[in-house]
């Protein structure tokens, strides 16, 4: 008998699977100017956060087109170099090095996963390159691990929790069970909820940690069911949230307990089947703000650029506001030197056509966190895209954020 394959080779495939996510080609957009200003952007274009990553890239490209249509920055074209980080911290750090050293990017932006935001936060600081975090929420980015080089558009995990916690407590009661993604974002978000819950006098019945990218949530849901909570809090996000919600609905748990969570997003809502469309969540920006100037025009301009029938999400706004903020900083500093741009951005208020929300939106000087709003509300169970969420209020960021002192950030300018 001819031996056709060996067990060893079967095992080798496992190793190959492991490294399989590492390779993917960069997407380059070429500018026409002689010496364009380059901004490097890292975002997940593959993996569990691919849809969110694509939205951020779309937003940034809108800002790019607007800036270049007005003659670029400091008379130079603006150029955006985009790299896929696959929501992997190590890969993101590697891509950040490439963007700075090989592509000669003067400024960085990006991140959906908090883990990548933290790793690039470190690289950017080592390389003294300004880094605009678009969508990694974990507190330490503008808290205990903050650096003078890092600014952040999206809200902190604490703000996400604070925007919704009291509503959930008052409406449904104080016994909560958590399912938390097992990485930086989940840990800090859960800690924030835990603290807020304790302060209100509630009880935490349990917390299941689920690895990022889990497909099967049944064992966590079994534990949650045994705990019999008032509210089941699902802190997983992206595709993980879709999977978790779908399974919770099939187990009938969504009929037994109130469901609440941290963050939800248009990308997630779109992927939810009808039985899983429910619960209380927070979005960080919403396309339907009838009373806020410029929002309608912006949605129209998005749909002119992207004709696939989609609507802009909070992620699109992160990318858009992120690149525009860098542009405003460069213009104000009259320089692309990171140190000068950083100083210019501190305290900078976003103009209404970029803020696209009713409250005052500005970068706090002491921790570089953008004070943007939370939009808590309820998923519409009979909603049809894009009317999938009912915003109950728009909470100003500086009302719910930890103070600069509590956030624990000490900016390290000495360079």
């Amino acid at each position: 008998m001819k031996r056709k394959f060996s067990r060893r080779q079967v095992i080798k495939t496992g190793a190959i699977l492991g490294v399989s996510t590492v390779f993917s080609p960069p997407i380059l957009s070429f500018a026409q100017g002689e010496t364009p200003i380059r901004v490097g952007m890292h975002d997940p274009l593959t993996g569990t956060y691919a849809a969110e990553g694509e939205s951020e890239v779309r937003g940034a490209k809108m800002a790019l087109a607007e800036i270049n249509a007005k003659g670029g920055l400091l008379g130079r074209k603006l150029d955006l170099v985009i790299e896929d980080d696959a929501a992997n911290a190590g890969l993101a750090a590697q891509k950040a090095h490439k963007l700075i050293e090989q592509d000669k990017c003067s400024l960085l932006m990006g991140a959906v996963s908090s883990a990548t935001a933290l790793s690039v936060n470190q690289v950017a600081h080592d390389q003294k390159t300004l880094y605009m975090v678009t969508g990694g929420h974990t507190d330490p980015v503008t808290g205990s691990q903050c650096h003078w080089t890092t600014f952040r558009i999206c809200t902190t995990t604490y703000m996400l929790a604070a925007g919704l916690a009291s509503t959930l407590y008052k409406k449904f009661g104080g016994k909560w069970y958590f399912i938390t993604p097992d990485y930086a974002y989940g840990h800090t978000l859960q800690a924030a909820y835990s603290k807020l819950l304790k302060d209100m006098g509630g009880t935490e019945l349990g917390n299941s940690l689920a690895p990022l990218g889990s497909t099967d949530y049944s064992s966590y849901l079994i534990k949650a069911q045994q705990a019999k909570p008032d509210v089941l809090i699902l802190l997983v996000d992206g595709q993980d949230l879709v999977n978790c919600m779908k399974q919770a609905a099939q187990f009938g748990l969504t009929k037994k307990f109130a469901i609440g969570g941290g963050l939800t997003e248009l990308e997630v809502l779109k992927a939810l089947p009808k039985e899983a469309k429910l619960g209380w969540w927070t979005v960080e920006w919403w396309w339907d703000q009838p009373n806020t100037p410029h929002v309608k025009e912006w949605v129209a301009s998005y749909q002119k650029a992207y004709t696939d029938g989609s609507y802009p999400s909070a992620r699109t706004w992160f990318g858009y506001a992120g690149l525009h903020s860098l542009g405003l900083g460069v213009t104000k500093a009259k320089s692309i030197e990171s140190a000068k741009v950083a100083k210019a951005l501190e305290g900078l208020v976003l103009p209404p056509e970029i803020a696209l929300q009713p409250n005052k939106v500005y970068f706090r000087a002491k921790d570089h966190q953008l004070m943007s709003s939370e939009f808590p509300g309820e998923i519409l169970s009979d909603g049809v895209y894009p009317n999938l969420f009912k915003v109950s209020e728009i909470v100003p960021g500086d009302k719910i954020a930890l103070t600069e002192e509590q956030a624990g950030c000490k900016l390290d300018y000495a360079t």
Binding site: K2, R7, V10, I11, K12, T46, G53, S219, K223, A271
Partner: protein, 289 residues
């Protein structure tokens, strides 16, 4: 104690799904000698086809049509890509090729259906628990178990009693002799690859009922099925089945006591099996022995 019972049972159900994936993988591995890295890709094709077809055929129609179409796509892939590689005895070539194919399928799915997740709606009958106490046994999971059982039994009967099945079994033992006896082994291998892809497509439709559809959804599902094959024994279809159930059960039991290790435990099992019984529990002797 109740929790242990629930989790073990739950793990077994999860294992059934791994077994279904592993079955297709093992089938292709035994006769085609291809470590089919694109199996997860075919799963994704099956899932997305079901999504598109369910608009016209309903869920049940899609459940039948999508796997069959996946099998046909598999036939084309085999003819165009895999067949030229049979001459090379080193399976590394087909491994690399199917690995590339997996990436291509993932990106094509993203191009055709988009990076954003899509929901496959399943009938309400399947969408709720069968009993209030055992709430984790949903109608859909019963369907998964029934289909896997039917597939395994059907495959067993087909391999035992049909001409093609007998030739496939003979081919797994000794392909050269089968060829010398006048059987067209190219056709045989093509058919076998197609069957394997039908299993992948079926697993895809079933996965889509529990998970949202995304282009990379196959990646996280394929690893446990590779582990199932190694634990169960390379070359044995029965082993693939048992391997799938065992790792599901192990993950379920571990969840009760130490949830953080529930992912790692299947690899630990693989390690143990490789150390103690390197050919796997039912390794390499042939089919259904």
């Amino acid at each position: 104690m109740e929790l242990l019972l629930f989790n073990s049972f739950n793990g077994l159900i999860q294992g059934v799904f791994y077994a279904l994936m592993a079955l297709g993988l093992a089938l292709i591995l035994s006769l085609n000698s291809v470590i089919n890295m694109a199996h997860g890709g075919f799963l994704v094709i099956g899932a997305y086809l079901a999504y598109s077809l369910s608009g016209y055929l309903g869920f049940w129609g899609a459940l039948v049509a999508a796997p069959v179409l996946t099998g046909i796509i598999g036939l084309f892939a085999e003819r165009a890509l895999i067949r030229p590689l049979y001459k090379r005895s080193d399976p590394l070539y087909s491994l690399l090729l199917t690995f590339g194919l997996a990436l291509i399928i993932e990106d094509m799915t993203r191009t055709i259906w988009g990076a954003q997740g899509l929901p496959l709606e399943i009938p309400d009958v399947l969408n709720s628990p069968v009993s209030a106490d055992y709430f984790f046994i949903t109608g859909f999971r019963v369907l998964i178990m029934a289909i896997t059982a039917a597939s395994a039994i059907g495959l067993y009967l087909a391999l035992r009693y049909t001409l093609i099945g007998i030739r496939i079994r003979a081919g797994i033992r000794d392909l050269e002799t089968v060829s010398a006896l006048g059987v067209n082994i190219y056709k045989l291998r093509a058919l076998n690859f197609g069957f394997g892809c039908i299993f992948a497509g079926l697993a895809g439709v079933l996965a889509a009922g529990v998970l949202g559809l995304t282009p990379p959804m196959g990646n996280s599902l394929i690893m446990p099925s590779f582990v199932a094959i190694i634990v169960g024994g390379v070359g044995s279809l029965f082993g693939a089945l048992i391997g799938g159930l065992l790792i599901g059960l192990a993950a379920g039991i571990t969840t009760t006591y130490y949830p953080a290790a529930s992912e790692a435990v299947i690899y630990l099992m693989m390690l143990l099996v490789l150390v103690i019984r390197p050919r796997g529990l039912f390794g390499e002797e042939g089919l259904f022995e």
